[in-house]
Amino acid sequence: MRIWLSLAAVTVATWLMKAAGPLALGDRPLPPAVRTVVGLMAPTLLAALVVVEVGGPGWSGLDWRQLVGVAAAGVVRWRGGPLPAAVIAGAVVTALLRLS
């Protein structure tokens, strides 16, 4: 019961947060200055996600093999590789490093 109540609470809170924009703003447009910030939100969030994913809570999750794999994926993409291939290449690099 404790589990079901907790997950119901998290679920409803998540729904409300995802709906926050429409619920709060309706069809009122954002001011132009805010629009500019919004346009930069995607790259900013992504960069923060990479750091948090690699670092983990309190940077305790840092593993150089994972870091090298992520960087390898970046290099493959930068050299013009397709996105899925780059991700797989990154995972393979880390897997190989962990073999030793």
Binding site: A13, M17, A24, A48, V70, V87
Partner: protein
């Protein structure tokens, strides 16, 4: 682009993140089984909440502490959805309820895939990109619960590289589109990295989005190729 074509393009580009989601869901299912959650609670949770990080957080925090603390820290991890939802609202059409329903398709990869530049988003593409991810998250959870792959095996296969790599590659694509994005992304990374030392990942992520303010303050408005088609 028609609604149907936008949706289809979203589905197509959403399959990559969906594959990554499946791997993550496997480990979520396995962890939930080990925590003694049974089968239906985690599967229902994945179907309805569809939020990886918060589901993982609830799993670990509920085991150790009070339910109220566990729920609030899990909710906090998702606070960035509020920011994303506000960002998205201008690009949604219809009544408030209709917009609120469309916004349920928000997920980190979809938010980025649906970004057309200059703060405009393609709503059908957002929903399309989320569809395969949702499917993979739910089926992955179920398979993980039944098969219970060991965390060691997934780690040996480099599964933990998949998500950060995806986020990095999507960030590279975004940064390539506008000079202001590079500064904003760098600030976001630095803020999140610094806060990670002193607080929970949820706070670090939320505060990291403030990097967009720095990028905007330095005149780096995301460029205005709203009308551009595919990326």
């Amino acid at each position: 682009m028609t609604v149907r074509a936008s949706f289809a393009s979203g589905v197509r580009d959403g399959t990559g993140p969906a594959a990554a989601t499946f791997v993550l869901a496997l480990s979520y299912g396995a962890a939930a089984a080990q925590a003694g959650w049974g089968f239906w609670a985690p599967v229902t949770f994945s179907m309805l909440a569809f939020t990886g990080a918060a589901q993982f957080a609830l799993l670990t925090t509920l085991a150790s502490g009070s339910a109220v603390a566990a729920v609030s820290s899990s909710v906090l991890i998702n606070a960035r959805y509020i920011v994303m939802s506000v960002a998205l609202n201008d690009s949604l059409r219809g009544s408030r309820l209709r917009r609120a329903l469309q916004a349920q398709a928000l997920a980190d990869p979809s938010f980025v895939l649906a970004h057309r530049g200059g703060g405009r988003f393609d709503a059908p593409r957002l929903v399309g990109a989320t569809a395969p991810q949702w499917l993979c998250w739910v089926t992955g959870t179920a398979v993980g619960l039944l098969a219970q792959p060991s965390p060691g095996l997934l780690e040996a296969l480099g599964a933990d590289v998949v998500f950060p790599a995806f986020f990095l590659l999507l960030a590279m694509d975004e940064v390539r589109r506008s000079p202001g994005a590079l500064l904003a992304a760098a600030c976001g990374a630095v803020i999140a990295g610094a806060l990670l030392l002193v607080t929970e990942p949820g706070y670090a992520l939320l505060a990291g989005t403030a990097g967009a303010l720095v990028g905007a303050a330095h005149g780096g408005s995301a460029h205005a190729d709203d009308s551009e088609g595919d990326r």
